[in-house]
Symmetry: C2
Subunit: 201 residues, 2 copies
DNA sequence: TGAAAACTGGACCCGTGCGTCCATTTATCT
DNA sequence: AGATAAATGGACGCACGGGTCCAGTTTTCA
């Protein structure tokens, strides 16, 4: 039921992207466009009307979603004690993984051979940007005399790595991490504690 | 030139695995077996004689190589001061990445949908095992009174993450990390220094 | 020299999935 | 009502690649 003459139906666009995310997460690059169309309740032609082909669809999907997935990570709230803030940040990192946010990353890795620019963009808008924000925070806290961080980007990389590395690989390998809320909390708290030991004034 | 009557030519087996590693690294799961055969200087049939099919070939390749790639990581030498030992360990982690050791990981990730057991095995024999060894070392140093590590596995995970996480993702995304020897050294040294700050007695 | 088994290379079948085409339908604007 | 344009769905051509088959060759052992 198009809403305008000669205007594309944008509700279908959403349905397509949702279905694409789903099928691509399940089957990877091998995901057939026909299956995406079927699940979106849309004809294959409709997909080709919007996107020239499969690679464009993937690009559109990833570019559109990376931001929204990593958005919650971007602003460590600067109210509480740094250890609290860091723990909260770590928790949000882990939640992204736990909630399946890594299927896009897996997809990007699979496509990296054919779509190197996409890989660059995902890296810049995902891990890189979120790390930059954390670095800013660390610098602020250092200025405020609550921490002692000489190389904020380096430190941010360390912290992100401490929290993520293992779960990251597990998620990419599709191994169920099976972290309970309590375990997430413990891990986040412990990472923040250790990090503060290393970077306290 | 087979060396035994009715015996498979093991030099060809090696050629097949080498070629498979090469082509699979380049083209991922989409790598055609014919291309592997071509580069191995072997007929397609010969490959099918040894391995039932593509998935078996991949399994054989990965299982056979994971060990040799991660072998250098397994034994942190316990002679020097822990900070030195940790830096050396970190360096060897980074070298594995730098030398392209992550193409097998990328391949395993791509295959994880169809070959979940392979994913489990790679994880267990790669990151997991090497982390276990590091944990043992940390425990030893703690007993010796040179460090203070309460949860060795957790600490090992932290250290590995600090060193690897970022480069790991870059490598998987095929982004050139372009680390010079000097940068590797700096990163390893810094990670060891920070880690020791957090876990010193 | 003959047997045994692997290797070759090329042909072959076949499933899958991309991308195209098109006649028909549906919906909206003038 | 008529024009306009998107949406449908089904058929189609086509390339690619997995896996099989086989007749002929090479190699080594007995």
């Amino acid at each position: 039921m198009p809403r305008l003459v000669g205007q594309i139906d944008s509700s279908k666009t959403e349905a397509i992207l949702d279905a694409a995310a789903e099928v691509l997460a399940e089957r990877g690059l091998a995901a057939p466009i026909e299956e995406i169309a079927r699940r979106a309740g849309v004809s294959k032609q409709t997909i080709y009307n919007r996107y020239g082909g499969k690679t464009e669809l993937i690009q559109a999907l990833v570019e559109k979603r990376v931001d929204s997935i990593t958005a919650p990570l971007r602003s460590p709230g600067a109210e509480e004690h740094p250890e609290e803030t860091l723990a909260a940040y770590a928790r949000s990192l882990l939640v992204v993984i736990e909630k399946g946010g890594y299927s896009l990353m897996r997809l990007t890795i699979q496509s990296a051979g054919e779509l190197p620019e996409l890989a660059r963009e995902v890296y810049a808008n995902g891990p890189m940007r979120s790390r930059g924000q954390l670095a800013e925070y660390l610098e602020l806290e250092t200025r405020a005399g609550r921490m002692k961080v000489e190389d904020p980007m380096q430190a941010a990389e360390f912290f992100g790595g401490m929290v993520m590395a293992n779960r990251q690989i597990q998620a990419l390998l599709r191994l169920p991490t099976g972290l309970t809320e309590a375990e997430i909390d413990r891990l986040a708290t412990e990472a923040a504690r250790i990090f503060m030991r290393a970077y306290s004034v």
